[in-house]
């Protein structure tokens, strides 16, 4: 087949195969996908050499920058995982991740969306179960950061609800709200990152967290299991009376039951809800 006038689509398929290949540029040019488009020994008929660089070196400028760019994007979204793993292990992770989940979006902001799933796909990856939880936390933080702004349910709106209507009232959370449960204690790793302390060893301990945004800052509430379950019910649209009754059953003492209303007041004050349907 002549290489004199390669079609644009063929040229682009070839170059993409080479650019995204994780090996050396020589390995990339000789890879099966690239060879399928153009035989590697005829590289000079595809890309011309310059006065100072061979054809392979010139392609290598693009190929060398691809993984760097992917890593830069993902270290923005997953700074705690990078901090925990260190530069070398993080680079190794990103190389494997973008092979499995390359970008298919016009924005790099979506590149990291599959990292939690990657650790489920790769259960043998070192610390996979812990990293799955940590990735879920960091992904949720970026989602909360980028969500649409919602009006916050005001005290006046709550007071306007007739007492008879409270039983069946339903609350709607703000868009920038995520409720998470973890098998591993991931918050200490987030704190260690922010305080520039050594990242602790992963510890298996259940944890529950609400992430939300207020005044355009991402905030978190660390929850007990009972708090999580009640907040999950409310955010899911369970009528207020039903959700509170279930929560009260799980609290044995009157002191514990009184806590429920303290939680509720905190969530309202923190602006977790946007509206109430009474």
């Amino acid at each position: 087949m002549s290489l004199e006038q390669p079609k644009l689509d063929r040229l682009q398929r070839w170059m993409q195969e080479v650019v995204v290949h994780p090996g050396t540029v020589e390995e990339a040019i000789a890879s099966e996908g690239a060879e399928h488009e153009f035989p590697s020994e005829r590289l000079g008929e595809v890309v011309t050499p310059s006065h100072s660089m061979t054809s392979a070196e010139r392609v290598g400028v693009y190929q060398g920058m691809y993984l760097m760019r992917m890593e830069e994007a993902l270290e923005t979204d997953y700074p705690v995982i990078r901090y925990h793993l260190g530069d070398v292990a993080f680079s190794h992770l990103i190389e494997a991740y973008v092979q499995r989940y390359p970008s298919r979006s016009y924005t790099l902001n979506r590149l990291g969306d599959h990292l939690p799933q990657f650790f489920l796909d790769e259960p043998e990856w070192p610390q996979a179960a812990f990293l799955h939880d940590l990735a879920r936390l960091e992904l949720a933080m970026t989602q909360v950061f980028d969500e649409q702004e919602s009006p916050v349910l005001s005290a006046e709106e709550l007071e306007a609800v007739h007492p008879d209507a409270w039983e069946n009232a339903r609350l709607e959370p703000i868009a920038a709200f995520r409720l998470l449960s973890f098998r591993y204690a991931v918050i200490p790793h987030l704190v260690a990152f922010h305080e520039d302390r050594p990242s602790p060893s992963p510890r298996r301990r259940a944890a529950w967290v609400a992430l939300y945004r207020r005044d355009y800052s991402v905030l978190r509430l660390e929850l007990s299991r009972a708090e999580h379950d009640l907040l999950k019910a409310l955010a899911g649209g369970t009528p207020l009376g039903e959700a509170l009754a279930i929560a009260a059953q799980s609290q044995k003492s009157s002191h514990q039951r009184a806590q429920i209303f303290k939680w509720f007041r905190t969530w309202i004050a923190e602006g977790l809800f946007t509206s109430i349907e009474a």
Binding site: L8, Q16, V46, A73, F145, A176
Partner: protein, 281 residues
């Protein structure tokens, strides 16, 4: 020398809007002609970036500069993306929308790099057709930036400047003329940058870009991480003599210094602009 054919205004001197500078811009309200926003940074966020952008757009003229239109790709045009671009332009009141002469991926993938095109009749026809479709959809002229490139395809059958000039004429689109890119590509490919500049249809140029770069010895990388180098300033002078005064923007995207340093750097362009005005007078 003439105005551009759409009479887009000469906004004077501007800089790329970057996150580390938000607070300074809003508190100090620096005297600057315009800001250029990276389109994709604001398409999918309802959070702080968009909130701050809205405030800055109330204070300054805005233009939009994208990296994902992939106008030369053989993949289908992404109309979902274009819809968001159009909505952001309406929201910010952007005076024009620019992107690059390049492709970013095929087969549904995005490498997020500005990959080079072969300069052939086929790629020209393909790109011109797509620019027309995009312009119809956006209901405004598209402004295309000449690329910086690190390789040349053997298939190319015309110089880049001829391809770019014909693209602009045949698609009836604008040009964002990046002077640093011409310098970078001229160094990498061994052509005369002045010949490139002289071939550009000035009435289609709507904006200039200036930036720093990194010389690796064997080649130059368009890193946008430093001051503009003297040879690029010289080429800028030649460009405004050939084309005329246009909105002039400094790009500084890596190792970003405090706003005052970026601002001072773009103010150097004023010396060249004043000199040009004096020459004309």
């Amino acid at each position: 020398m003439s105005e551009n054919r759409w009479s887009f205004p000469d906004l004077g001197l501007g800089v790329g809007l970057r996150t580390p500078h938000y607070a300074h811009i809003l508190s100090e309200k620096p005297d600057i002609g315009f800001f250029e926003v990276l389109t994709e940074n604001y398409l999918d966020t309802g959070g702080r970036p968009l909130y701050l952008l809205d405030q800055i757009a109330e204070l300054y003229p805005m233009v939009m500069h994208g990296v994902s239109m992939s106008i030369g790709s053989t993949d289908p045009i992404d109309f979902d993306y274009l819809a968001k671009v159009k909505a952001l332009a309406a929201r910010t009141g952007a005076l024009w929308i620019s992107d690059h002469v390049c492709w970013t991926g095929v087969l549904g993938r995005n490498t997020h790099d500005l990959l080079p095109l072969p300069y052939t009749e086929e790629s020209l026809k393909h790109s011109v057709e797509r620019i027309k479709v995009v312009q119809d959809y956006l209901d405004r002229p598209l402004v295309m930036e000449n690329p910086s490139t690190y390789l040349e395809f053997a298939a190319s059958d015309m110089p880049e400047w001829e391809w770019v000039a014909r693209m602009a004429e045949e698609a009836d689109c604008g040009l964002l003329f990046d002077v640093n890119n011409v310098y970078v590509s001229a160094y990498n490919h061994g052509f005369d940058p002045v010949e490139y500049i002289d071939a550009i249809p000035g009435e289609r140029v709507c904006q200039y870009h200036l930036a720093g770069h990194t010389n690796k010895g064997t080649h130059i990388i368009d890193t946008h991480n430093d001051h503009v180098l003297d040879p690029v300033w010289e080429l800028f002078g030649h460009t405004i003599r050939h084309v005329g005064l246009r909105a002039t923007l400094l790009e500084w995207d890596a190792d970003i210094p405090p706003f005052e340093i970026v601002h001072q750097e773009v103010l150097k362009a004023d010396d060249w602009r004043r000199q040009e005005v004096a020459n004309v007078a």
